[in-house]
Symmetry: C3
Subunit: 139 residues, 3 copies
């Protein structure tokens, strides 16, 4: 069994921009030729999240609307009193959703559902260059 | 250290049906006779989730009511315009909660709390046959 | 590659008490002298959670207010009918947020963002002594 750290660089537009990582992760897995194992995808930073979703335009809107309803952009955040950078909602959303996911693979393929894509959601209030850690454990 | 993929087949009734996996996962762990390691439980699919909860009838209702309050079944979802299959709420709930959990074990036992059970929650709007990946890493 | 289970004992005040674990986790990692791998942090129990956040006083308040808004302490919970112990909100919050996180490390360092701390949030309605599992896989 081996362990390898790799990374993905992703440009985002911020404010809930949702980016499908599935193809890029599949290509990374092929690069290491592992058959059985798991892939940890982790975004360093406190205003972005990783989850899975059926990546289609309707659900992209639905999930954006959910987050705006639960944690509105224009509400008052005490984070503003610390930094005054306007992204209190970004932090709260990212902490609720979490910064990582672990996906098992078998037979050299990610064991995702057909309609299940791995996405990065950037909640920051400006475009960002994100560096994701992609770690493989397997054989 | 070894790595093994196994699976669990679970029949659900959908619409928030919550199923306690703890005994089944404990039996799987015993099958591999590993002492120290971790178990990744992952549901392939975009309308079901895995989490931990004290599995008792009151909390089952409370968690169902939470999800209905945050993400109502009968609200409008743009997912409906893509597929018209009535399960927009199912997708949004599952993406918020996440498709997996990793549980450590030691001394051959899952290191869960006494009142902490591992559950599958199926948010789809119909009964489903779910295939869960259960992956062991350890020795 | 090796796997090791360790633990952290944390005293909390309950009711959303948020404790920064980052320094303690960094020290644990140094103890094992691993360079590349991952650290699983798991809280046994059904009323506490692990996530990442920028640990500063404003966001601590913001995240507390979010949980009180989504899952109010003084709402009615059916859990109360089972145990009558007043912590229905604690369980529901913990199940929504989840009991664990996996953090990759490389070059002997946790691959967290500069403003990203790992926190335990104790949602129980009384002070608790928490025992966290910290499991390392790596080399």
């Amino acid at each position: 069994m081996t362990i390898v750290n790799d990374s993905l660089s992703i440009e985002t537009r911020g404010e809930g921009d949702m980016i499908d990582l599935t193809n890029r992760l599949t290509l990374l897995l092929q690069k290491y030729k592992m058959k059985t194992g798991q892939m940890l995808v982790f975004v360093a930073g406190s205003t972005a999240s990783i989850t899975t979703i059926e990546y289609e335009p309707g659900l992209k809107k639905d999930f954006t609307l959910l987050m705006e309803r639960l944690i509105p952009r224009n509400a008052r955040y005490f984070h503003e009193e610390t930094w005054n950078d306007g992204n209190g909602h970004s932090h709260v959303r990212a902490s609720l959703l979490g910064p990582s996911i672990t996906i098992p693979f078998g037979g050299g393929k990610l064991l995702l559902g057909t309609w299940q894509q791995v996405v990065l959601i950037d909640y920051d209030n400006r475009p960002r260059s994100r560096e994701l850690v992609v770690q493989f454990i397997g054989e």
